[in-house]
């Protein structure tokens, strides 16, 4: 592939959308209220809408005849480059919201930088996505506050979810080889520079929500290299089912 770094860079962004969108899609019809149900479906819709633009672009870069669905659904486990955070299961509404919040704050910061990319396609997708993601961030932040400062049960549950998922936050700021090349070319975002802002913003919301900021020395990583948690395989089995069972068909 001529531009393998750009291709991998795009997947590094898009796979997060795909996997999180898929996770949220599992919840449709099962939310605690009709309003939150609709809102989570809406976030899933936004993420998957964005991912189509990214994969269509990646398919063009790859130039080997693969289309967006081949890229989305026909790669092997080790070829998905999403961060570990987004593949974590919907343990309960607390985990769903904590995962969303910890991702949204990052997502918004990243897209804000991506909008300045020299690559006009990526910049345009970022601009369009930012409007949606600023809504996601507001939604998840509001729920962090509600659950944190709601009842003592909700406080404990959301604190536990934040504590458990915290271990996956550091990976958001790791640079891959593709990242480094793309940053040097003025196309990619230097995620290492987002870290302070991220932890400040997250910390402020947690504080407002009367929650504690977890103290951690050890973090999990690997998603960006395709080394995932055991959860991802099951998710992919569902995601890929039709494409695997009925290869080479149009739907």
């Amino acid at each position: 592939m001529k531009n393998e770094n750009l291709y991998n860079y795009i997947l590094g962004i898009a796979d997060n959308n795909l996997i999180l969108g898929q996770r949220l899609g599992e919840l449709c019809g099962h939310g605690p209220t009709l309003e939150t149900d609709i809102a989570c479906t809406n976030i899933s819709l936004d993420l998957l809408g964005q991912v189509r633009s990214f994969y269509q672009y990646a398919a063009k870069i790859a130039g080997d005849g693969r289309k967006e669905d081949d890229i989305a659904m026909l790669r092997k486990e080790r070829d998905y480059l999403n961060v570990l955070l987004v593949e974590q299961p919907n343990t309960d509404f607390g985990y769903t919201i904590a995962r969303q919040f910890l991702f949204d704050v990052y997502h918004f910061l990243m897209l804000t930088e991506l909008e300045k990319s020299q690559d006009l396609t990526l910049s345009a997708i970022a601009t369009k996505s930012l409007k949606e993601v600023s809504y996601h961030k507001r939604f998840s932040s509001d729920w962090i506050k509600r659950l944190g400062d709601g009842t003592s049960e909700s406080h404990d549950r959301i604190q536990m979810a934040i504590n458990d998922l915290w271990t996956y936050t550091d990976e958001l700021f790791h640079q891959t080889e593709a990242d480094k090349v793309m940053v040097a070319e003025g196309i990619g975002v230097d995620v290492t520079k987002l870290k302070d802002d991220y932890y400040n913003q997250v910390g402020n919301i947690l504080e407002e929500a009367t929650l504690e900021i977890p103290e951690r020395k050890y973090f999990q990583k690997g998603g960006k290299q395709g080394i995932h948690t055991e959860h991802l395989g099951y998710l992919l089995a569902e995601l890929q089912y039709m494409q695997r069972a009925y290869p080479n068909m149009e739907w």
Binding site: H30, P32, L34, I38, L45, L48, G150, L239, W251
Partner: protein
């Protein structure tokens, strides 16, 4: 109020309906009108949200991203329909929690069609095409119903339902023109959903006790049998375009009535499912009850938080 006054009010009320005036939440209405509307509108709302489940099943397995996004949007629309309808029912003096309680305890019904399983991707096509198609026929008739909030909700909902139907038909079209396995999948879905779709129009007219009263209040504008006939006449040519066969050996064009004759519906099956013994009644209810019970702590938290915030506001105001 004296009996005579009430009689007067009732006469005025019936006259307004006859004139096609809309009845609004603050208007006087007979108790029976209120209760009948609560029953029908909440039942309709429940159908929308239980209806999210069979299709929701396939979101994670949709065969392409385009289909996944479209299916998510469709199921989300159904949730939105549930919201408008619960709000319309609330204007009659019942809360959403009470309605949920009636659903969860089995006191309130929902459309039986959602007690059939969605087994293959083609079912997403068949449900959109047939189930949303049948729903539209029922609901277009309700856009002119006498209760204002219900009529207005219906106008909004009908637009989206016809979009759903086209989307479902388009899924079928793709399958019918695809590989042999895909065409088989489409035919199988039609075979399983055809008869339950016909049952969506309810029992035959001579076994439908509420029809006369409902016609008077414009809760119904055509009878069950008329609507069913309309659905069949509209759907058969669509199946022909798909090259699929309607699973009814007695289906035949009747020149004299300018409509199709069709075979006998299995009314035993109809009543079995209505009474709670269909293939998925238990699973659907379990899914709804689980969502509700697992969400209790979330709703409590939201309430507690809102209370704290308004308390704070009051203090600041003082």
């Amino acid at each position: 109020m004296s009996e005579e006054q009430i009689k007067n009010l009732e006469e005025q009320f019936e006259a307004r309906i006859l004139r096609d005036d809309k009845i609004e939440p603050k208007d006087w209405m007979p108790e029976k009108y209120r209760q009948t509307h609560i029953r029908q509108i909440s039942q309709h709302a429940h159908s929308e949200i239980v209806g999210m489940l069979p299709e929701g099943n396939w979101i994670t397995r949709a065969p392409s991203l385009r289909r996944k996004v479209a299916l998510l949007a469709k199921v989300q629309d159904e949730g939105g329909h549930g919201l408008y309808l619960y709000s319309a029912a609330e204007t009659l003096g019942i809360s959403r929690d009470e309605m949920f309680d009636q659903l969860h305890t089995g006191k309130a019904k929902y459309s039986s069609i959602f007690n059939y399983p969605a087994l293959t991707w083609a079912d997403m096509g068949a449900i959109g095409w047939l189930v949303d198609g049948a729903a539209i026929i029922n609901q277009v008739a309700l856009c002119g119903t006498s209760y204002g909030p219900y009529a207005r909700a219906m106008v909004r909902i009908c637009k989206e339902e016809s979009f759903h139907q086209r989307q479902g038909y388009e899924i079928m079209l793709k399958l019918a023109n695809g590989a042999p396995e895909q065409k088989d999948m489409a035919q199988d879905a039609l075979n399983r959903f055809w008869w339950p779709s016909l049952m969506m129009f309810g029992p035959k007219d001579d076994e439908s006790p509420h029809t006369a009263q409902s016609m008077k209040w414009k809760l119904k504008r055509k009878t069950n049998d008329d609507l069913r006939q309309q659905f069949i006449d509209q759907t058969v040519p669509q199946a022909d375009i798909l090259g699929l066969t309607i699973p009814d050996p007695d289906l035949k064009w009747n020149e004299a009535k300018q409509g199709y004759d069709f075979g006998e519906i299995d009314w035993d099956e109809f009543w079995q499912v209505v009474k709670g013994h269909g293939p998925c009644n238990k699973e659907r209810m379990k899914a709804r009850v689980n969502a509700w019970e697992n969400g209790a702590w979330v709703r409590d938290a939201a309430m507690a938080y809102a209370d704290k915030k308004s308390e704070l506001k009051n203090k600041q105001a003082v």
